[in-house]
Assembly symmetry: C2
Homo-oligomer: 157 residues x 2
Protein backbone atom coordinates (compact mmCIF):
# COMPACT_ATOMS: atom_id res chain seq x y z
CA UNK A 1 0.00 0.00 0.00
CA UNK A 2 1.37 3.42 -0.97
CA UNK A 3 1.90 5.70 2.05
CA UNK A 4 3.27 8.62 0.07
CA UNK A 5 0.98 10.21 -2.55
CA UNK A 6 -1.84 7.79 -1.63
CA UNK A 7 -4.99 7.39 -3.75
CA UNK A 8 -7.28 7.71 -0.72
CA UNK A 9 -7.02 8.66 2.97
CA UNK A 10 -5.22 6.01 5.02
CA UNK A 11 -6.50 4.86 8.40
CA UNK A 12 -3.87 4.78 11.13
CA UNK A 13 -4.18 3.81 14.78
CA UNK A 14 -2.16 4.84 17.80
CA UNK A 15 -2.08 3.76 21.42
CA UNK A 16 -1.10 5.71 24.49
CA UNK A 17 0.07 3.28 27.14
CA UNK A 18 0.39 4.76 30.62
CA UNK A 19 2.10 2.89 33.42
CA UNK A 20 2.31 4.79 36.68
CA UNK A 21 3.98 8.09 35.84
CA UNK A 22 5.36 6.92 32.48
CA UNK A 23 4.13 6.79 28.90
CA UNK A 24 5.36 4.48 26.13
CA UNK A 25 6.96 6.41 23.25
CA UNK A 26 8.72 5.38 20.05
CA UNK A 27 11.20 7.17 17.81
CA UNK A 28 9.74 6.98 14.33
CA UNK A 29 11.68 5.01 11.72
CA UNK A 30 9.62 6.24 8.77
CA UNK A 31 8.49 9.43 7.10
CA UNK A 32 6.58 11.58 7.81
CA UNK A 33 8.46 12.90 10.84
CA UNK A 34 11.19 10.22 10.78
CA UNK A 35 13.45 10.46 13.85
CA UNK A 36 10.84 12.21 16.00
CA UNK A 37 9.43 10.77 19.21
CA UNK A 38 5.76 9.89 19.06
CA UNK A 39 2.94 7.60 20.16
CA UNK A 40 3.37 4.02 18.86
CA UNK A 41 1.02 3.00 16.07
CA UNK A 42 0.67 2.64 12.33
CA UNK A 43 -1.51 1.75 9.37
CA UNK A 44 -4.65 -0.29 9.86
CA UNK A 45 -4.67 -3.41 7.69
CA UNK A 46 -7.51 -4.61 5.48
CA UNK A 47 -9.97 -6.76 7.45
CA UNK A 48 -8.51 -5.73 10.82
CA UNK A 49 -10.60 -3.92 13.44
CA UNK A 50 -9.29 -0.72 15.03
CA UNK A 51 -8.52 -2.39 18.36
CA UNK A 52 -6.81 -5.34 16.64
CA UNK A 53 -4.68 -2.82 14.76
CA UNK A 54 -3.68 -1.03 17.97
CA UNK A 55 -2.71 -4.31 19.67
CA UNK A 56 -0.65 -5.47 16.65
CA UNK A 57 1.13 -2.16 16.02
CA UNK A 58 2.20 -1.66 19.63
CA UNK A 59 3.36 -5.27 19.91
CA UNK A 60 5.37 -4.99 16.66
CA UNK A 61 6.92 -1.63 17.51
CA UNK A 62 7.60 -2.02 21.24
CA UNK A 63 7.15 -5.66 22.31
CA UNK A 64 4.52 -4.51 24.80
CA UNK A 65 1.09 -6.21 24.83
CA UNK A 66 -1.88 -3.91 25.40
CA UNK A 67 -5.64 -3.77 25.58
CA UNK A 68 -7.22 -0.65 24.01
CA UNK A 69 -9.74 0.88 26.41
CA UNK A 70 -11.16 4.09 25.00
CA UNK A 71 -10.73 6.48 22.06
CA UNK A 72 -8.81 9.61 23.09
CA UNK A 73 -9.06 11.46 19.79
CA UNK A 74 -9.43 11.28 16.02
CA UNK A 75 -7.18 13.48 13.89
CA UNK A 76 -6.56 14.38 10.26
CA UNK A 77 -2.95 14.54 9.13
CA UNK A 78 -2.93 15.98 5.63
CA UNK A 79 0.36 17.13 4.12
CA UNK A 80 0.52 18.65 0.66
CA UNK A 81 3.49 19.17 -1.62
CA UNK A 82 2.43 21.80 -4.15
CA UNK A 83 -1.06 20.85 -5.34
CA UNK A 84 -0.62 17.14 -4.57
CA UNK A 85 -1.49 15.33 -1.36
CA UNK A 86 1.76 13.76 -0.14
CA UNK A 87 0.33 12.22 3.05
CA UNK A 88 -3.23 11.80 4.23
CA UNK A 89 -3.86 9.91 7.44
CA UNK A 90 -6.94 9.69 9.62
CA UNK A 91 -5.53 8.70 13.01
CA UNK A 92 -7.58 7.10 15.77
CA UNK A 93 -5.75 7.19 19.11
CA UNK A 94 -6.68 4.88 22.00
CA UNK A 95 -5.90 4.87 25.71
CA UNK A 96 -4.40 1.43 26.37
CA UNK A 97 -3.69 -0.74 29.36
CA UNK A 98 -0.52 -2.82 29.35
CA UNK A 99 -1.33 -6.51 29.72
CA UNK A 100 2.15 -8.01 29.26
CA UNK A 101 5.16 -8.21 26.97
CA UNK A 102 8.60 -6.69 27.48
CA UNK A 103 9.97 -3.44 26.07
CA UNK A 104 12.00 -4.10 22.95
CA UNK A 105 12.13 -1.63 20.06
CA UNK A 106 10.87 -3.42 17.00
CA UNK A 107 9.91 -2.92 13.37
CA UNK A 108 9.52 0.58 11.90
CA UNK A 109 10.98 2.34 14.95
CA UNK A 110 14.48 3.49 15.93
CA UNK A 111 13.88 3.30 19.69
CA UNK A 112 11.11 2.68 22.25
CA UNK A 113 11.06 3.92 25.86
CA UNK A 114 8.92 4.37 28.95
CA UNK A 115 9.18 8.15 29.40
CA UNK A 116 8.47 9.92 32.69
CA UNK A 117 5.80 12.57 32.47
CA UNK A 118 8.15 15.29 33.68
CA UNK A 119 10.75 14.36 31.03
CA UNK A 120 8.26 14.64 28.13
CA UNK A 121 9.39 18.16 27.12
CA UNK A 122 12.85 16.72 26.27
CA UNK A 123 11.24 14.42 23.69
CA UNK A 124 9.63 17.25 21.67
CA UNK A 125 6.54 15.26 20.68
CA UNK A 126 4.19 16.97 18.21
CA UNK A 127 1.43 19.17 19.61
CA UNK A 128 -1.45 16.78 18.84
CA UNK A 129 0.44 13.82 20.33
CA UNK A 130 1.18 15.86 23.47
CA UNK A 131 -2.55 16.68 23.74
CA UNK A 132 -3.48 13.00 23.46
CA UNK A 133 -0.83 11.99 26.02
CA UNK A 134 -2.22 14.58 28.47
CA UNK A 135 -5.73 13.15 27.92
CA UNK A 136 -4.39 9.64 28.54
CA UNK A 137 -2.79 10.63 31.87
CA UNK A 138 -6.12 12.19 32.87
CA UNK A 139 -7.96 9.04 31.80
CA UNK A 140 -5.49 6.83 33.73
CA UNK A 141 -6.00 8.90 36.89
CA UNK A 142 -9.74 8.28 36.64
CA UNK A 143 -9.38 4.56 35.78
CA UNK A 144 -7.81 2.55 38.59
CA UNK A 145 -7.22 -0.37 36.19
CA UNK A 146 -4.63 1.44 34.11
CA UNK A 147 -1.81 2.06 36.61
CA UNK A 148 -2.27 -1.36 38.18
CA UNK A 149 -1.43 -3.29 34.99
CA UNK A 150 1.08 -6.08 35.62
CA UNK A 151 4.61 -4.69 35.45
CA UNK A 152 6.58 -7.68 34.31
CA UNK A 153 4.04 -10.18 33.11
CA UNK A 154 4.91 -12.03 29.90
CA UNK A 155 1.31 -12.83 29.17
CA UNK A 156 0.37 -13.19 25.49
CA UNK A 157 -2.85 -11.67 24.21
CA UNK B 1 -11.92 4.24 -5.74
CA UNK B 2 -13.15 0.67 -5.26
CA UNK B 3 -15.74 0.37 -2.49
CA UNK B 4 -16.27 -3.36 -2.89
CA UNK B 5 -13.25 -5.62 -2.30
CA UNK B 6 -11.06 -2.60 -1.43
CA UNK B 7 -7.27 -2.82 -1.10
CA UNK B 8 -7.26 -0.98 2.23
CA UNK B 9 -9.78 0.19 4.85
CA UNK B 10 -11.88 3.13 3.61
CA UNK B 11 -12.59 6.17 5.77
CA UNK B 12 -16.24 7.20 5.86
CA UNK B 13 -17.90 10.04 7.72
CA UNK B 14 -21.45 10.45 8.96
CA UNK B 15 -23.39 13.29 10.52
CA UNK B 16 -26.33 13.18 12.89
CA UNK B 17 -28.31 16.39 12.50
CA UNK B 18 -30.86 17.01 15.23
CA UNK B 19 -33.47 19.72 14.92
CA UNK B 20 -35.86 19.91 17.84
CA UNK B 21 -37.37 16.42 18.15
CA UNK B 22 -36.30 15.29 14.66
CA UNK B 23 -33.23 13.68 13.13
CA UNK B 24 -32.15 13.81 9.49
CA UNK B 25 -32.14 10.36 7.86
CA UNK B 26 -31.48 9.11 4.35
CA UNK B 27 -32.51 5.96 2.53
CA UNK B 28 -29.31 4.49 1.15
CA UNK B 29 -28.95 4.30 -2.63
CA UNK B 30 -25.86 2.07 -2.57
CA UNK B 31 -24.64 -1.22 -1.20
CA UNK B 32 -23.95 -2.18 1.54
CA UNK B 33 -27.45 -1.98 3.00
CA UNK B 34 -29.06 -0.36 -0.06
CA UNK B 35 -32.66 0.67 0.61
CA UNK B 36 -32.17 0.93 4.38
CA UNK B 37 -32.62 4.13 6.37
CA UNK B 38 -29.45 5.48 7.90
CA UNK B 39 -27.39 8.49 8.94
CA UNK B 40 -26.28 10.62 5.96
CA UNK B 41 -22.60 10.38 5.07
CA UNK B 42 -20.11 8.71 2.79
CA UNK B 43 -16.50 8.25 1.77
CA UNK B 44 -13.89 10.80 2.78
CA UNK B 45 -12.01 12.16 -0.23
CA UNK B 46 -8.24 12.49 -0.58
CA UNK B 47 -7.02 15.81 0.87
CA UNK B 48 -10.32 16.50 2.62
CA UNK B 49 -10.52 16.87 6.41
CA UNK B 50 -13.12 14.88 8.36
CA UNK B 51 -15.32 17.91 9.04
CA UNK B 52 -15.10 19.03 5.40
CA UNK B 53 -16.19 15.53 4.39
CA UNK B 54 -19.19 15.63 6.73
CA UNK B 55 -20.30 19.04 5.41
CA UNK B 56 -19.96 17.93 1.77
CA UNK B 57 -21.66 14.54 2.15
CA UNK B 58 -24.68 15.90 4.01
CA UNK B 59 -25.06 18.76 1.54
CA UNK B 60 -24.84 16.38 -1.44
CA UNK B 61 -27.21 13.79 0.00
CA UNK B 62 -29.82 16.00 1.67
CA UNK B 63 -29.37 19.66 0.59
CA UNK B 64 -28.94 20.59 4.27
CA UNK B 65 -25.93 22.65 5.34
CA UNK B 66 -24.35 21.69 8.64
CA UNK B 67 -21.51 22.39 11.00
CA UNK B 68 -19.95 19.31 12.66
CA UNK B 69 -19.64 19.86 16.42
CA UNK B 70 -18.33 16.75 18.12
CA UNK B 71 -17.44 13.11 17.39
CA UNK B 72 -20.17 10.74 18.62
CA UNK B 73 -18.42 7.50 17.76
CA UNK B 74 -15.92 5.65 15.59
CA UNK B 75 -16.90 2.26 14.20
CA UNK B 76 -15.49 -0.57 12.12
CA UNK B 77 -17.72 -2.03 9.45
CA UNK B 78 -15.99 -5.11 8.09
CA UNK B 79 -17.95 -7.51 5.91
CA UNK B 80 -16.38 -10.67 4.54
CA UNK B 81 -17.53 -12.93 1.72
CA UNK B 82 -15.75 -16.23 2.21
CA UNK B 83 -12.10 -15.45 2.97
CA UNK B 84 -12.16 -12.07 1.18
CA UNK B 85 -12.99 -8.66 2.65
CA UNK B 86 -15.95 -7.36 0.66
CA UNK B 87 -16.35 -4.09 2.58
CA UNK B 88 -14.13 -2.41 5.14
CA UNK B 89 -15.12 1.01 6.41
CA UNK B 90 -13.89 2.98 9.40
CA UNK B 91 -16.77 5.35 10.10
CA UNK B 92 -16.42 8.57 12.09
CA UNK B 93 -19.83 9.96 13.11
CA UNK B 94 -20.30 13.60 14.15
CA UNK B 95 -23.06 15.46 15.95
CA UNK B 96 -23.94 18.34 13.60
CA UNK B 97 -25.81 21.60 13.82
CA UNK B 98 -27.91 22.67 10.86
CA UNK B 99 -26.78 26.05 9.55
CA UNK B 100 -28.96 26.33 6.42
CA UNK B 101 -29.99 24.66 3.19
CA UNK B 102 -33.30 23.03 2.32
CA UNK B 103 -34.21 19.33 2.47
CA UNK B 104 -33.89 17.78 -0.96
CA UNK B 105 -32.82 14.16 -1.44
CA UNK B 106 -29.69 14.20 -3.58
CA UNK B 107 -26.95 11.99 -4.93
CA UNK B 108 -26.47 8.41 -3.70
CA UNK B 109 -29.74 8.37 -1.73
CA UNK B 110 -33.31 7.28 -2.52
CA UNK B 111 -34.96 9.60 0.01
CA UNK B 112 -34.11 12.04 2.82
CA UNK B 113 -36.40 13.00 5.72
CA UNK B 114 -36.58 14.74 9.08
CA UNK B 115 -37.79 11.86 11.25
CA UNK B 116 -39.47 12.36 14.63
CA UNK B 117 -37.74 10.58 17.48
CA UNK B 118 -40.85 8.57 18.35
CA UNK B 119 -41.18 7.38 14.73
CA UNK B 120 -37.60 6.05 14.55
CA UNK B 121 -38.61 2.41 15.21
CA UNK B 122 -40.58 2.46 11.91
CA UNK B 123 -37.36 3.23 10.02
CA UNK B 124 -35.46 0.15 11.26
CA UNK B 125 -32.05 1.82 11.36
CA UNK B 126 -29.10 -0.45 12.15
CA UNK B 127 -28.15 -0.95 15.78
CA UNK B 128 -24.96 1.15 15.67
CA UNK B 129 -26.74 4.00 13.88
CA UNK B 130 -29.53 3.90 16.48
CA UNK B 131 -26.90 4.12 19.23
CA UNK B 132 -25.28 7.14 17.61
CA UNK B 133 -28.65 8.84 17.09
CA UNK B 134 -29.47 8.34 20.78
CA UNK B 135 -26.10 9.90 21.69
CA UNK B 136 -26.83 12.84 19.38
CA UNK B 137 -30.21 13.52 21.02
CA UNK B 138 -28.47 13.44 24.41
CA UNK B 139 -25.76 15.79 23.10
CA UNK B 140 -28.41 18.16 21.65
CA UNK B 141 -30.22 18.28 24.98
CA UNK B 142 -26.99 19.39 26.68
CA UNK B 143 -26.06 21.90 23.93
CA UNK B 144 -28.54 24.77 23.65
CA UNK B 145 -27.03 25.73 20.27
CA UNK B 146 -28.26 22.62 18.50
CA UNK B 147 -32.05 22.96 18.67
CA UNK B 148 -31.88 26.69 18.04
CA UNK B 149 -30.31 26.35 14.56
CA UNK B 150 -32.09 28.52 11.98
CA UNK B 151 -35.06 26.61 10.58
CA UNK B 152 -35.40 28.07 7.13
CA UNK B 153 -32.18 29.90 6.47
CA UNK B 154 -30.67 29.44 3.02
CA UNK B 155 -27.20 30.32 4.16
CA UNK B 156 -24.33 28.72 2.28
CA UNK B 157 -21.33 27.41 4.21
Amino acid sequence: MKREYPKQPIVAVGGVVIQGSRVLLVRRGREPHKGEWSIPGGMLELGESLVEGVRREIREETGVHVEPLEILGVFDRIQKKGPRVQYHYVIVDYACRRTGGRLNSGSDVLDARWVKREELPDYCVAQKAALVIARAFKFAEKSPKVPSAPKDAEQAL
